[in-house]
Amino acid sequence: MLKDLLKETLWSLTGNKIRSSLTMLGIVIGIASVIAMVAIGQGAQNSIASSIESIGSNLIIIMPGAASGSGISQGRGSAETLTMEDVSAISTQVPDIKAVAPEVSRSYQLTAGGNNTKTQVVGTLPTYTEVRNIEVDLGSFFSEQQVQSSAKVAVLGPTARDDLFGADANPVGQAVRVNGISFNVVGVTASKGGSGFNNPDDYVYIPITTDQHYLSGNNYVSDISAAATSADTISAAQQEVTDLLLSRHKITDPTQADFSILNQADIISTASSVTGTFTILLASIAGISLLVGGIGIMNMMLTTVTERTREIGLRKAVGIRKIYINLQFLAEAVVLTFLGGFIGIILGWLASMLASKFLSLNTSVSISSVLLAFGVSAGIGIIFGFYPARRAAALSPIEALRYE
């Protein structure tokens, strides 16, 4: 009996290949699109999260406030209110901060041999490597002595190195000119894999004292990065730094502060709300594809059963019991939806693999999206394949046979 059921199901599905494959197509597309969309959305989220992680851990960034004269604001970060004295005060007086690195950064045209490039030159301290998770690939980062003596030494990011000396060259010991001043290259940092604006791989690092003497010409810093002792102390550290700077700058009203502080948790939460919106967008598109796919499946199943009402009538007329007719249609719907679902899952997975490869997103296919997509399509397929057939099998064979 089970063998008969399987044979009838197979015969029925292979007997009308176009009908079967169209029904399956709806299921395949519905499932594949949901899986791929959700995977790409999550990939985007992961890649944003990991690029935020790469800027440092437990990071607090202190930026100067807005400069304003005659009521015209120059924008946040434009004022010159943070000094090297603030930096040493933070590093000595705030116990929850384990390292502080000031930055003076500006972009310059750099030349080396016949090559030149415009990039961001960052004047800082050796602690920068600790605060920003920088690793050195070739040579070494500059030392505390070189900061003390305002040595004209530079550490290149890998992208800057590639632009100036050629890909994968070892420039240690060679000279690079910044604003007409010759610097001796002492090291190359390891790639952090960033891209776009503010790519840390395209930075050139020099001692902050050298930057202040030869390039910026003053004692101010563009911003200060500080690393808290642990993830739990970030908020406390942020508060301590705020209090310290307020008292050093002799400001009593915190709303009038001439600096602002961002911590990494804030950046991550902002970014994840952005990627969250993005994921909702993709999920809505996926949901709509699922709905459209579902309607396709429903139509196909309904048309099929209506078309086959005469066949159902004949089966009943020759004495096949209702239950076997129901079982056969159920089995057909199950085989179609499972086969289509399986192909859809494979295709969705392939699509997200391709997205990983060509969009440099680290996509991940989530089990929940697979289950949701499969559940909805299979549910629709089975309900609309089985329910009308059940109704047709309950008709008297005469009515079913006469059905047009």
């Binding site: 004949l314 020759v318 019991r321 005469i398």
Partner: protein, 225 residues
């Protein structure tokens, strides 16, 4: 073997009740060849549906082999149709895009009969119905009308039923083929099958040994040759 007592079948369409059968009683014995004739709308198809256990009467009693059929449920009616009655329809009602052999074996689905026995019985029935053996693997839609009706007859024989019910079996066939098909029924009758034929053509009814004329839901005449 068939006994009908005062069969009434009423259809309700909205508020209007139409009686297709208004009280029909007769008996058919084993081995008879009966033609039920009448103009369209006379109730002969309704009668045939009740005799074939495809439908149940509104009132009255229908005994088949001594057991009452009129009060059975859906599954019990299915079992009666499978085991005791073979159907031949006007429009053949073969499964489309399906081989001749598979069509004939359809009523054996979900039964305990083994694969080999099903094949053997189908071949035997096809031979019995006068079907060319070389065509058993042809698809049903590649056959002529006469061949399709032979396949349908073979299908009706597969469970070796006591009664063969044929509803206008020649309605879609030309005269020559009709006569061949009617000869087949005469042969089956000669081999002991009870045959009940529904038709509106007098010429076709003449192949039978007994003719029941129905008009307006009542039996008008019942003649034996």
């Amino acid at each position: 073997m068939i006994e009908c007592q005062n069969l009434v079948k009423a259809y309700i369409n909205g508020d209007v009740e139409t009686q297709a059968l208004k009280g029909v009683s007769f008996k058919i014995d084993e081995g008879e060849f009966v033609a039920i004739i009448g103009p369209s709308g006379s109730g002969k198809s309704t009668l045939m549906h009740i005799l074939g256990a495809l439908d149940t009467p509104t009132s009255g009693k229908y005994f088949l082999d001594g057991s009452e059929v009129s009060s059975l449920d859906d599954d019990e009616l299915s079992d009666i149709r499978r085991n005791k009655i073979g159907f031949v329809f006007q429009s053949f009602n073969l499964l489309p895009r399906t081989t001749v052999l598979r069509n004939v074996m359809l009523p054996l689905l979900y039964s305990e009969t083994s694969e080999d026995e099903r094949n053997a019985r189908a071949l035997e029935c096809l031979k019995y119905a006068g079907m060319d053996e070389r065509r058993i693997n042809n698809l049903s839609n590649q056959l002529s009308g006469g061949q399709m009706q032979r396949v349908a007859i073979a299908r009706s024989l597969i469970n070796n039923p006591a009664i063969i019910l044929a509803d206008e079996p020649t309605g879609n066939l030309d005269t020559k083929t009709s006569h061949v098909v009617m000869k087949t029924f005469q042969d089956l009758n000669a081999k002991g099958h009870t045959i009940i034929l529904i038709t509106h053509e007098e010429e076709i009814a003449n192949f039978a040994k007994r003719v029941i004329l129905i008009r307006d839901g009542l039996i008008e005449s019942d003649k034996r040759k």
